[in-house]
Each structure stands twice: as C-alpha cells, then as structure tokens.
C-alpha cells in the first residue's frame, strides 16, 4: 500500500518535472556555441558588395539592417526603430535606434546609412534595389531620408539584412575599392549581433557575441561557428551524428529525406520564400526555329508531366510553382494555367502551329541544356516526354557552370533547365527575366529567352512604382496571367531548399530570409 502511494507520488512528481521542462524549453537561454554550415567558401563577408547566400549568412550576423522580416513578410523594426513613406512615395524616412554602435565602439549614425546606400548602389549586382535613390539626407545623427526619383515599393524588402547591411563609413570609406577592400574578409567591423573572430577559407567562419548589441539582452548565443563543408552527404552525416546543430539551404532530396527520418532532427522548407528559388525550363524565343511560336512552347509544357518532377524527382519535397513569382510570396497568383499533362492537346497545338509529324513520326529536333548537375534528371525526362509528341530532343551534357553560362548568355541554345532566385521583391529578381530592355548578350540570368512583350514591360514599369499593395497585386496578377499564356519559360517547382536543425536549437531562422537573417534570437536548449 505504502509502496503504491510512493510510486504514485513519484509519477506525479515526474509529470510535474516534465511539464516544468517543457514550459522552460521555450524560454531562451544564454550561452553556447552554435555549429552550423556553409556549402561553399564565401568570397568575403561583406553583403554590401556581394550577393549570395554564403556571404549573406555570416553577413547578416555581422551587419544589422534598417529592417528585419518575420515569416509573414511583415517588416519589423531593427536598426530603424520606425520608418515612414512620404505621401507621394518619393521619400522614406528612417529613425535609427539611439545608442547603437559598431563593433569598434564608434556610433552608428545616419551618415553610415547614407554611405551604405551609396556603396550598395554603386557596387551591388542588383542595380534595381537602390537605382532610383537619388540622395540620402541626414538632418541629424539618427534620421536618414532616402529621396527617390520615382515611387519604389521594393525598397522595403531591399532594406533587410541580406540586401542592406549598414557598414561603417570610417572603415570602408577610406577610398579603396569597396569590392576588394581588405576589411571585407578580415578584421570585419560590423553593426550586427555577432562580431568577427576568424575566417579561414575552406575551413570555418567564427563569430562571437557582440556584448554591446543595440537590443538589450541579445544575442543569446556566445558563438557561431560556420563550418565550410562542400559535400552534401558529409553535411548530412554531420547532422546525424550530432557534430552539427543546423544546416541551411540543403537541396539534395535524398539527404533531406534521410535527415528528416532522424528523431533528433527537424527538417523544414520554411524560410525560403523571399530568396524564392524556382526551377524552370527556359525557351530561346528569339531563335528562328519552332520555339518562337508560343503554341509550341505551350505544347511542350503540356507534354511534360509536372507531377513526375514533383513526386519522383523531387520526392515531394518541393512546391509546385505555376509562375515566376515564388508560391510563398504574397504576390504569387496561382489561378493561372498550370499546364497539367495533356498529350492530345500538345499534339493538337503542334499540328495547329504547322509542325506535322514526318514519316518517321518526328516533327522537329531541339537541344536541351541544364544549368547544374542536379537538373540532369529533368533534362532526361524532358527528352523522354517530348519524344511522345514527336519532338526529337538531344540532351547536352553539363560540363561546368561557366561553360553553360557562356552558351546560354550568348543565346546559343534551344531549351535549358535553370534555377533562378526572386530575391525578395519582383523588381529585384523577377523583372530581369522578362524585361525586353534586359536582353543582354553575355550576361547570365538576364532575359536570355529574348522574350519581348510591350504589355509586360508596361506592367513591370507600373507595378515597380505602385505603392498601394492591392493595386500592385492586381498588376502582378495580370503580369502572371500574360506570362503563363506566352510561356517564355515553363515554371515547374521551387527548389527543395530545407533547413535541418537539431531539436536542441531554439528559434531556428525560419523567417523569409532563412539564414540570411540575424540570429540574435537563436539559442541552444539545456
């Protein structure tokens, strides 16, 4: 009897203890070193003059931006405690937090904001982000006013960590070329939650807590170690054996599947909506051949079974994308033609376009390239699919990136599988693909399809300047409808980017910028 009571008590105590720990697990704890990964060595760590995810990840820890974003695309105060558009949409006033300092102790002022905008505008590859910023006025140390030549709603997304790091003028304003500044990769002085400790190529980037960070009590972690591991399987094994706490931007589906089956790990595709990577089949619409006819392009789309790509090649780990805007974006319009498999329709369209089957059952021949080794299955699948409607396809083997880029950017191709990123606002990463002014020989990820449509050009010009979110969404709706009809590229799916983290990690970076957002809230449990 006594024993039974004791046992009962013990169970109650155990349950209480369990509840206690679960409740506590959500409270962030100070301390610890987060071990995470980079899939390549960054050229350097200064995102003001270098785009890309491997610079963006440590860059967002080293440098703070005016705004930050949660998972709902809502801007949050960061280095700017408040911000406001003027009524005409031609100026943006930023009120900076008081008392913020760079890692060397110097105050962060509006002068630094102005300098950062100028540096990014002059050196960053995405010219559309700050191209319309004419001047930055600095009435006092804590107020910066961006004056624009035309309304530019994309500015709000451009002011987040990945794209607008606030860099110290007293370091980078010394007259040296900011793109090759020696302080980009060594002795970096930033404004963000973590300070620079070490950057060794092909080994690691080490950052430590900025004790004077402008948000009281943060960050929670003492250190972040980014281990540079190029081999995806090695990263997966490191996650499974506990050597690594977290890895981001994983896109090899078999490894993701394996890691997601591990009880200690969580795999999620949250966090990639802003970067917005989309796989698509691009057509060279400027060639004299059949691809200049939109019916042929539509027929090709109808002949390819998108579900096979989504389920068999991507193992169900990526989302369908019916347009060039990422499905995670509030501007995505899904009610367009998705070109579900329809062989009869494909044949009818090809007949209508005047490409009858020859005696050998072949209508015409095309070549297909693919922009990286991982899209080889798609290229092979396209060949097999199009054979069914009488299009003979030769798959060009992938040699390496520069070989492919040289070929595609000089318009020497018929079709190619490609992966292109949205980079937040459509103005930054979407317009470039369809803008008839952006048909530029020798430049990869310009309008290499040589697609031109006046209405699309008009819509982009209007949407780029429309401040009213509803009107803007309506413009992008029409934009997506026309493109889905014209089909200069056939969009199929998002890249299966996943973040995999150990359950020990609290507040993993699942906002729209994934690992290119500040880790001041991330903590290690226990």
């Amino acid at each position: 009897m006594k024993i039974a009571v004791l046992r009962h008590l013990a169970i109650v105590a155990g349950v209480a203890a369990l509840l206690g720990t679960t409740a506590k697990a959500e409270d962030p704890v100070r301390g610890g070193t987060l071990i995470t990964t980079l899939p390549q060595t960054p050229r350097h760590l200064n995102p003001a003059v270098q785009s890309g995810i491997v610079t963006g990840a440590p860059g967002a820890q080293l440098f703070a931006a005016p705004l930050r974003y949660d998972e709902d695309w809502t801007p949050q105060p960061y280095l700017a405690e408040s911000w406001a558009w003027s009524d005409d949409g031609l100026s943006m006033t930023l009120n900076l937090v008081q008392g913020a300092t760079f890692h060397d102790g110097d105050p962060i002022t509006s002068e630094d904001v102005a300098f950062s905008v100028e540096t990014i505008k002059a050196n960053h590859p995405f010219k559309t982000m700050f191209g319309v910023v004419e001047t930055v006025e600095t009435p006092d140390d804590h107020t910066a006013i961006l004056k624009l030549s035309q309304p530019h709603p994309a500015l709000l997304l451009a002011m987040s960590s990945q794209l607008m790091p606030i860099i110290p003028k007293h370091i980078y304003g010394d007259g040296q070329d900011p793109k090759s500044h020696p302080r980009n990769g060594q002795d970096v002085v930033g404004s963000g939650p973590f300070k620079f400790v070490e950057f060794t190529a092909d080994q690691q980037v080490i950052l430590e807590r900025n004790d004077d960070f402008f948000i009281e009590g943060r960050p929670y972690l003492d250190r972040i170690v980014y281990r540079i591991i190029k081999d995806a399987s090695a990263r997966a094994i490191g996650m499974e054996n506990g050597e690594l706490h977290m890895t981001t931007f994983e896109n090899t589906v078999r490894n993701i599947k394996r890691m997601s089956e591990n009880d200690d790990l969580v795999a999620t595709d949250e966090g990639y909506a802003a970067i917005g990577p989309i796989n698509w089949l691009a057509f060279n619409t400027g060639s004299d051949g059949p691809l200049a006819d939109k019916r042929v392009r539509q027929a090709i789309a109808y002949a390819i079974d998108k579900n096979f790509i989504l389920n068999a090649i991507m193992l169900g780990l990526s989302q369908e994308s019916k347009t060039g805007i990422h499905p995670g974006s509030p501007l995505y319009y899904p009610d367009v033609n998705g070109y579900d498999l329809d062989i009869d329709k494909a044949n009818a369209l090809l007949d209508e376009a005047g490409y009858e089957k020859g005696a050998d059952g072949i209508r015409f021949s095309l070549t297909i390239d693919h922009g990286n080794p991982t899209t080889k299955p798609q290229a092979e699948f396209t060949k097999a699919s199009l054979a069914k409607v009488g299009i003979d396809v030769t798959v060009n083997s992938f040699v390496d990136f520069p070989t492919w880029a040289n070929k595609i950017s000089n318009h020497d191709f018929d079709m190619t599988w490609d992966t292109v990123f949205n980079w937040g606002d459509p103005v930054i990463g979407v317009h470039r693909t369809y803008d008839s002014q952006n048909i530029k020989e020798g430049v990869i990820w310009s309008n290499t399809q040589q697609y031109a449509n006046n209405r699309i050009d008009e819509l982009m010009a209007q949407a780029g300047q429309e401040i009213d979110p509803d009107k803007r969404a309506a413009l992008y709706k029409e934009f997506q409808e026309i493109l889905a009809e014209d089909l200069p590229v056939y969009w199929t799916n998002t890249l299966p980017y996943h973040t995999i983290y150990n359950k020990k990690v609290g507040n993993p970076p699942l906002g729209i910028w994934s690992s290119s957002s500040p880790y001041d809230l991330v903590f290690l449990k226990e």
Partner: protein, 324 residues
C-alpha cells in the same frame, strides 16, 4: 659527383617542365568556354552588363590571350603569381596557407599505402596460390577499383555515423587549444582521408611487391641463404625484400602525381582544407591565376617527390649509386 650532375640535370629539366606547365595550362584554361566573370556574376545571383564589362576590364580579360599570357609569364619570372580573381588575395599566400594540409595528406597516404602494400605483398608472396593470398589481392583490387569519393563516403557512414570514431569533416577541432592537443586533433581528422586516399595505391604496391618478391625468392642467392640454414623470416626480410623493393619505390615515385590528383577528390569529400579543394573551386570558377599557381606548385611537389625517390633508391640499392 655523379649525383650532383644528376641533380643539376634534373633541376634544369624541372625548370623547363615548369615553363611548359604554365604555358600549356594557360592555353587550356583559355580554351575552355566562359571566364571568371561568369562565375563571379553567378555567385552574386546575376549581374548587370555594365558590371560584367567593368570586372572584365579590371582583370585585363578584355585583352588578347597572347598579351595576357605574356604578362603572366613575365610576372612569374619575377616570382609573382598574381592575385586571385575570385578571392581577391595573393595566390602565393593562398597556396602557402594550404600546402601544409595537402603535403600532410599526400605524404601520409603515400607512406600508409607503401607500408601496407609492401607487407601485403610480402605476405602474399609466401604462398602465392594460397587462399589468403587471393583474399589479399581481391581486397587490394577493390580499393583500387572503387571511386575515391565513394570509398570516402562509405568510410564516413561506417566510422563517423554508425560507429562514431572519427569526425565527419575538416582538419581540426576549433575548440581545442594548445599545440599537442591540436596536433592530436589533426591526426584524428587525418585518419579517414588518409585511409581513403591510400586505399587506391595499396593494390598497386602490393601487386608489384608480390611479383617482385616471387622473382627474387626464386633466385640463386635466396636458395643459398636457405641452404645456409637461415630462418625463413631472415631470408624474406633481410635478403629477399631488400632486393625486391627498388621497383616498388620507383613506382611509388611515379605515382606521386596520381596521389596528388587523388587528393583533389578526397579533400572535397572530407572538407580537408588543402590545395585540391582550392584547385577544384578555382577550375570551376575559371580563376586562372589561382589554377596556374596550384599547378605550378603541384609540378614542383612532383619534381621534388621524384628527386626524393631517386635518393631513397640510392640508399636501398647500391647498384644505382654506381650509375649516373
């Protein structure tokens, strides 16, 4: 005296070889489509036409290839390997940062393969038709035939994941302080890459050693030694092996360049921060100064490796000493 002449001769050949390495590789890289600006643009997620033209001009890539080659060779003669286009750092600095890691990997793998290969060869030669001899051969050939990256991943799954004895990537644990603990950490990280790289060459060395041992074991002086009443062990180790070794050492010297190229893959699989990884990145990025710098140093390592082989041969084989 003879040796000095050989040394001078070899050095001269070596220099000519280096020049040829530079000119040929420069030409080859320029024949490949695309250039570093494509990769820099890609790395940035796309770039404007103005920026692309600007970077091309900055690196002198808009000049004729022959002018670029002339400039490059002239700079190398002034002991300047130039700046990396991709990382914006002096190539020499980047190479010296990584040379130790590669040398450590290459030499330890080579020594491991030699020691194991010779032991297996000697063992197999004792009973050339025994079942164990065949097992040894099979095992060695398997290591030779399997692709390096596959062996590497397999070892990782076995000894990092299933039986977590070794770390999955890198060269040292960044949290370890002090010289001795750091050295131990490096040794710990070295085991799997060394096994992977060495496994390819074990087959070569053991097969050759076995054949060479069999030949020597059949010769008259071995019979004499046996007739003198020496123990089988003394006959094998003191008389036979010593004479069976020179071909193996010669092969090991010739294989030096193969070991270095094997290191490229091994370094990538194990994130070993050596020249191989840098070479791969640089080729994919068309980072010409870096690739040429690495090839230059690799050629140097091969030349030095071959010289060392000659030296070792002289030590173990008195017959070579007499010849120039």
């Amino acid at each position: 005296m003879g040796f000095l002449v050989v040394l001078a001769q070899r050095t001269l050949y070596g220099l000519l070889l280096l020049l040829a390495v530079l000119v040929l590789n420069f030409t080859m890289i320029n024949l490949a489509p695309g250039d570093v600006v494509d990769t820099i643009a890609a790395d940035m997620g796309g770039a404007s036409a103005e920026l692309v033209a600007q970077i091309r001009a900055e690196y002198g890539l808009d000049q004729p290839v022959i002018v670029q080659l002339g400039n490059y060779v002239w700079r190398v003669f002034q002991f300047d390997l130039g700046q990396s286009y991709f990382y914006n750092r002096p190539v020499t600095e980047m190479i010296f940062e990584r040379l130790p890691a590669t040398l450590l990997l290459v030499f330890s793998a080579q020594i491991f393969a030699l020691v194991v290969g010779i032991l297996l060869g000697v063992f197999a030669a004792q009973r050339p038709n025994g079942i164990l001899s065949h097992i040894v051969t099979l095992f060695a050939l398997f290591g030779y035939a399997a692709p390096v990256f596959w062996t590497g991943i397999l070892l990782l799954i076995a000894f990092s994941l299933k039986i977590p004895l070794f770390p999955v990537a890198g060269m040292r644990d960044v949290t370890v302080e002090g010289f001795l603990p750091q050295a131990l950490s490096v040794a710990h990280h070295l085991v799997l890459p060394m096994l992977t790289l060495g496994s390819i060459f074990i087959a070569l060395y053991s097969r050759l050693c076995r054949a060479s041992m069999l030949e020597v074991l059949g010769s008259d002086y071995v019979r004499t030694a046996k007739a003198k009443g020496l123990s089988p062990r003394d006959v094998t180790m003191k008389h036979a092996l010593k004479n069976a070794l020179p071909p193996v050492v010669t092969l090991a010297g010739l294989q030096f360049s193969a070991v270095i190229s094997g290191a490229v893959l091994v370094e990538t699989v194990f994130s070993w921060p050596g020249l191989g990884q840098l070479a791969l990145t640089s080729i994919l990025a068309r980072d010409t100064p870096t690739i040429l710098g690495i090839l230059f140093f690799s050629a140097l390592v091969v030349i030095v490796g071959n010289l060392l082989t000659d030296l070792v041969l002289r030590l173990i084989d008195p017959r070579v000493r007499g010849k120039a």
